[in-house]
Symmetry: C2
């Protein structure tokens, strides 16, 4: 009988990254070889944070359906999960983490051989008067979503103000419209969805207005009015005061790396924890994955922190395979994101024009208006495709798509092209699927590649 | 004033490849430099042959909407189009083509400086008794589709038999069901859609049966019964006699290269005209594009003839750019095809298991059952994804998808991966679009890549 030294993996954070890592490590190392403890400060593990707006909006009624696996299911696989347990300090030289029980306030040190940091993201909260008032809601974790939904169900608020026009802000605005609220959306920027170029973002603004969202762009929030009881009553900008029974913050997130940073674990320029491609931090036997890390943008070459469940799952899996003695890598991202705002599907990948310029690229852009299906086939809807290519080399730098049904997922072809460093000229030959119910004979992606290749050629002949 | 020697481009065939070539050549060379004459034996140019089943089925009522551009529109761009004009002989040493006027039977020799052969495909017709009877229809050109639709409208046939279970056969079966006919489909093969592996093709068979198509697989047709007046009355197989008011042949096509071959223009093992990547044949100043040529399969490395409008358009464009003095290439195809059969979307790319074995690959396959959207999001439908990878190297060799709405076009990500020679291990990191309305957090393509990478790893550890 082999007597392996029993090692302990401690995982901080029980959502996508942490639980994927735990699961993969367990698949490769049995409970007589590796003990696994997950501490999670919330009430849930392994849920779809991206599904929260759909629960609030009533598209998905049962919050439980957002939960992929319960703590009991993990325990059945010999993964110990402790809920309402918050890691408050990491002691890397001692190989231990101080964990507070949020129910009774007690604390104890938990030792580890390997530590997995999966502390997620921290929502941006404006440092403004009234920002912490009752009725001002973030939507970061499932508990937030459940709370918000309960308030809408019970208190039937009439007017909502969403602060911030990123993905979550827009999805929440739509969710609140769906629940019958009058919704205003305020953003300091001149367009919603700043990850798109202004010409593409304008289509998203139109869609929001189309369902009755009252948009106030280019208006930074200056404060929140509150009642005598400390409840939010309005959102104030330079230009106006918007009465509100409910405020939802969608101001984006930053990597939740404070705990790691305090322990001396290296973080990078984005504020995210630095890891290698196997998801090892610069600190011995400390791993990290998910929204708390930064990764490499494969187009810009620079570090980037993108909070997205799909990255968290992949990174967690990679960490877990390596923790389990296997070999896997996460080389980086190309910045793909898709969203559905009302009827409008939005997708982007790579760099937009501003990001390309920031990364030092001299780029040109083309925009193509096309349809999702052959023009004569019923259900064909318009879609706008934008491609950004490097001058001279013609290398694809990014793409954006705004359209209706069946538009957004076409971005995947662009994402794979970016991943492989294709030029727009090469892309003109791509063998994409064609049949009238799915695409015009020249797929919008191919038309855009053609136009971009022609633009690169014209640009060179001018030089 | 510059006196350029006026050259003449003669184009044989006025559909996708021929008209794309003519248009591109014209864009680069004006009418004082290049004269362009297109001869087309049918009544139409520049139409969507792929749209014919939708016209017959009543999805697209107006046949004119399948026509992208009329002869008059081409004439406005100084491209002369002669309809009902059939090229009957090419004289390459004399630089001329004998053209027959199909209206009056007269013939004349037309000279050329450059010749573009875009003679399309020839439908397979069984050499069986009764195969040429009245009521037995091919669906190759728009005229065929218009005729068939008119017969259904006027004669209200009750029972139809479709012979052949390829894309066109299946799309026609669906079209006829939609028009209220009782439809049987007969194929010598054991499954419909032989471009799919049997496990995936079985799902297509189920979909056909689901809408009431009576399938007779593994039954070669032995003949056609006819009435005293010479009309088809039934289709006979070894096992049965299927009464028919109408028979539609969907037995596939071969390259229409007879005219070129007779002129000594080289054809290859597939029967298609051989060209280089600029679409030049082996004969000086003779070019070819579209269904009449063979091209290179970028995965098998071998020659392949695939009749598909998207290839014809691309090849024609490439030929036209080169004819116009520019530079463009068509490197080959990866074998992508998509189709919608009733509610079922079908897609394939690369090599299937049989084709991979034929090409000398030692391959393994994985199949993944997943959903098109996050499982909790309304409208999520099941989809089955199959990936085929080379043993040891893990190189992606092919993929197949069968599902419902939003399934098929996901094949594009696989097609781009194949184009770039990615391994399934590399593919596990791909940054594909994720949001609940579009995909589960692990996109089906990513799950399949993961499973395939695991299968490759397991396979190697056994060796």
């Amino acid at each position: 009988m082999r007597m392996a030294a029993l090692e302990r993996l401690l995982v901080i954070g029980g959502d996508a990254a942490g639980m994927s890592a735990a699961s993969q490590a367990r698949r490769r190392r049995g409970p007589d070889d590796l003990e696994i403890l997950v501490v999670e400060r919330g009430h849930h593990v392994s849920y779809s944070a991206c599904g929260i707006p759909y629960h609030v909006g009533g598209v998905v009624d049962d919050a439980d359906s957002l939960i992929a696996r319960t703590p009991a299911e993990f325990r059945d696989r010999d993964i110990e999960v402790r809920l309402r347990a918050e890691a408050v300090e990491i002691d890397v030289s001692g190989g231990r983490v101080r964990v507070r029980d949020l129910e009774d306030g007690t604390e104890r040190w938990e030792p580890y051989d390997d530590l997995m940091v999966a502390t997620g993201a921290v929502p941006a909260r404006p440092r403004l008067p009234g920002a912490d008032a009752e009725g001002v809601h973030g939507v970061q974790v499932l508990d937030d979503g459940i709370t918000l939904r309960r308030i809408i169900d019970r208190e039937a608020p009439r007017r909502a103000v969403v602060v911030g026009g990123g993905y979550i802000g827009l999805e929440m605005a739509e969710a609140l419209v769906r629940r019958g609220l009058e919704v205003s959306l305020v953003d300091a920027a001149d367009q919603p969805m700043r990850t798109l170029d202004p010409d593409m973002g304008a289509l998203v603004a139109d869609a929001l207005r189309g369902v009755g969202v009252d948009l106030h762009l280019g208006e930074p929030v200056e404060g929140f009015d509150t009642s005598a009881g400390g409840r939010v009553t309005a959102v104030r900008t330079a230009g106006r005061t918007l009465p509100a029974d409910l405020v939802v913050l969608g101001l984006g997130v930053r990597p939740g790396a404070d705990l790691a940073r305090a322990a001396g674990i290296e973080t990078g320029p984005t504020g995210g924890i630095v890891t290698d491609r196997r998801m090892r931090t610069r600190t011995e036997r400390v791993w990290a994955a998910g929204d708390c890390v930064e990764t490499r943008h494969l187009v810009s070459g620079g570090p980037v922190a993108i909070a997205l469940g799909t990255h968290a799952n992949k990174q967690g899996r990679v960490a877990g395979i390596n923790l389990g003695g296997g070999y896997a890598t996460f080389p980086g991202v190309v910045g793909t994101a898709v969203s559905k705002i009302c009827r409008v599907e939005v997708a982007r990948t790579g760099l937009n024009e501003r990001e390309a310029a920031d990364a030092g690229f001299d780029a040109l852009a083309v925009v193509v208006e096309s349809t999702t299906r052959a023009g004569y086939y019923p259900g064909a809807t318009p879609m706008r495709t934008k491609l950004i290519a490097e001058r001279r080399s013609g290398r694809l730098l990014g793409g954006q798509i705004v359209g209706e049904e069946n538009a957004a997922k076409r971005v995947d072809a662009l994402a794979v092209a970016l991943w492989n460093g294709m030029t727009v000229e090469e892309m003109t030959g791509l063998d994409l699927g064609y049949a009238p119910p799915f695409a015009p004979v020249w797929d919008p992606v191919l038309i855009a590649a053609r136009k971009a290749a022609e633009a690169v050629e014209r640009d060179m002949s001018k030089a």
